[in-house]
């Protein structure tokens, strides 16, 4: 066994535009181990959400991630609607899917460009991002913003799509078909891309299931899951589309799946645009209050299923809000995928799950001297209970006590 060196990818590294820390343990150029350290960007979104009204929470979760900035809101408003039994007008459903799919196309284009950049293929990067601009222009036309569209609200959407905008949207999308086909052919025909990506970072279906990986990462390994189809929401049950899968589970297939999904998304967008004409009416059912209860919402974000849980206590703000983004599941698969790869391959493998760290951040406190975890959730509950007991004693109040040992 040779000498182990640590190749640091992070905390700030040109590979990723977010702070994260991958420690690659290498012997020569071969990766023999991987440590993932996150938490540089922890913002306490879930706790913040408890101090916001339901309307404000949507704006908050929109800022979890700049790229999935409509996936989190869709999942969030669906959780609120589930908790409150709110009906959503059909036109709003179409608009939700429309915005969601536009986001998927631009997110996949973003990844495709970055993947090119990571491979040193900057021309692909610049070209793909140039055409991605057109999508962002549509977003600006429809919502007023290139990102952070603020379109979703419990009970519907915040803005309607104007009839006079639809021809412009159609024209722009038609113009995108050509470039997308060009990129598809470029990826599938380039021999060097084949040499770099095929058989690299393979994830077996078993590993996908073990790690609970989601989205294109899972579908590239032949695991046929997609919440848009499996638990229809928004307008996905009302339009015709296919789930794209591949079989090899390598980085190449992840690219193939994402490119295939862009074409499916274009199909969905076109159908939604057509359906908008035949479903007039309001885009918002204006729910007045959310009764006590709990609800879940999920949405197939570009990176996989995003999940929101909301518990209502009858007030105008969530009593508990839980968010799980897809990267939280996907990033951990890196531990399997990079072992045995070279450092050159490791970087593209790390990027292949289209990681998004700001939505994945969890916090852990460690004692610097010993390296041991301190202030775990149990410890925090115990501290909180101790404080409550102390307050009760001081105030002379009585109340139920949670049995921590049974948890």
């Amino acid at each position: 066994m040779g000498k182990r060196t640590i190749i640091p990818i992070g905390p700030y590294h040109a590979l990723q535009e977010e702070p994260e820390f991958f420690k690659l343990y290498v012997e020569g150029e071969t990766v023999v181990g991987l440590d993932i350290e996150l938490g540089y960007n922890h913002r306490g979104i879930e706790k913040l959400s408890e101090s916001k009204t339901y309307e404000q929470t949507v704006f908050l979760v929109e800022r979890i991630c700049g790229i999935c900035s409509t996936s989190h809101p869709i999942a969030c408003v669906q959780a609120v609607e589930d908790a409150g039994g709110v009906e959503v007008p059909e036109r709003a459903l179409y608009i939700r899917s429309l915005i969601g799919e536009l986001e998927r196309v631009h997110s996949h284009m973003l990844w495709l460009g970055l993947a090119g950049h990571f491979l040193g293929f900057n021309t692909v990067w610049m070209w793909v991002w140039r055409y991605r601009e057109e999508l962002l222009n549509i977003m600006e036309l429809v919502t007023g913003n290139r990102n952070h569209y603020a379109m979703m609200k419990p009970g519907g959407v915040r803005r309607d799509i104007k009839d006079e905008d639809i021809p412009t949207i159609r024209k722009t999308l038609d113009g995108l078909h050509g470039p997308l086909e060009l990129f598809r052919d470029a990826v599938s025909d380039d021999p060097i891309i084949h040499a770099r990506l095929k058989g690299v970072g393979v994830l077996t279906p078993e590993q996908i299931v073990d790690y609970g990986a989601l989205g294109p990462t899972a579908r590239a390994s032949g695991v046929d899951i997609d919440v848009r189809r499996d638990h229809p929401h928004a307008a996905y049950g009302l339009v015709d589309w296919n789930v794209v899968t591949a079989t090899h589970g390598d980085v190449f297939d992840k690219a193939v799946v994402r490119i295939g999904e862009m074409f499916e998304s274009m199909k969905i967008i076109e159908q939604c645009l057509a359906k908008l004409k035949s479903s007039p009416g309001p885009v918002d059912s204006n729910p007045k209050e959310i009764p006590p209860g709990e609800g879940i919402g999920h949405y197939e974000a570009p990176r996989g299923e995003v999940f929101h849980y909301i518990r209502s206590d009858g007030s105008n703000r969530p009593a508990r809000h839980k968010v799980r983004a897809p990267s939280f599941m996907n990033v951990l698969t890196d531990r399997e995928a990079v072992l045995g790869a070279t450092v050159a391959d490791a970087t593209i493998i790390l990027a292949a799950v289209d990681p998004c760290y700001c939505c994945t951040e969890r916090m852990a406190a460690r004692d610097v001297a010993t390296g041991e975890r301190v202030l775990t959730s149990r410890e925090l509950i115990r501290l909180s209970q101790a404080k409550t007991e102390q307050l009760k004693k001081e105030l002379g109040a009585e109340g139920p006590r949670l049995n921590l040992e049974a948890m």
């Binding site: 040109a14 293929f121 891309i193 770099r196």
Partner: protein
Amino acid sequence: MNPAVIILKALIFPGLLFTAVLGLVTSWVDRFVTARVQMRVGPPFLQPFYDVAKLMIKETCVPAGGSTWLFLGAPLVGLSGVTLGALVVWSALLFGGRGFSGDVIVALYVLTLPAVGVILGSFASRNPLASLGGSREMKLLLSYELPLALAVLVPVMQSYAAVQSIRLADMATQLPVASVSGVLALVVAILCMQAKLTLVPFDAPEAETELTGGAYMEYSGPPLGLFKLTRAMMLVTMPLFLVTVFCGGLDVADGVLPALLGLLKVLGLVVVIVLIRNTAPRVRTDQAVRFFWGPVTLVALVAVGLGMMGL
């Protein structure tokens, strides 16, 4: 020759200063063509000059624990290598001189020094990413030098057969690229040049998105500026060398117009490598080594064989 004249030639014309200016202009061509291929606007003409000038007034940070003199000396190794190489090639093309016998070998030899400088500098940095870059540069150097030497052997043989000389000045009067073996050898040489300049697809030693600059990682200020300058000078010296050896040189003696046409040949080669670097992703080092020792060396051997048969 008067020593003062030699020093003037080495430092000002056509050595360091002249080649540096030409190299920075060439690197502007590189950046401009790259930008246009990528649907960008591209930098202003003087941008490469601003970049190097700015680096010259920035602070130099030396990593603790490394070898300081090696760290600071490495850029000079590269710079002196490319200056000597440029001087040898230019001397054969200008002044109506005939150079000296075997100057082609000297040019080949000193033009490996920039890569050696990068390797020395990266290992002196004591940075894991830099040493990885250095070891990649070393593997790359070992892989492309053999086919490059074989490729240059073809025009050498042709020149020797025609005028019994292996001086660059005499080789520039031949046109090896007009023969089958010459074309094959030129293709091999262009690929080797791509690797020598560590441009995509052979930019693994720097690999911005893997090693964040790799070999150059710890460099800042003037030493980094010297490395950049070396790269820029290589960007013009290597194409100039190939034009001299394969494509009949610059024809400076025949007047201004043929000389400009000669420069167009150099520019053409530069555009070719810029286009290659913009239409391919980066290959892994093992793939590059296999590529150069496998198919490229084979083609070079075929070219040498054809050259021996006089084709």
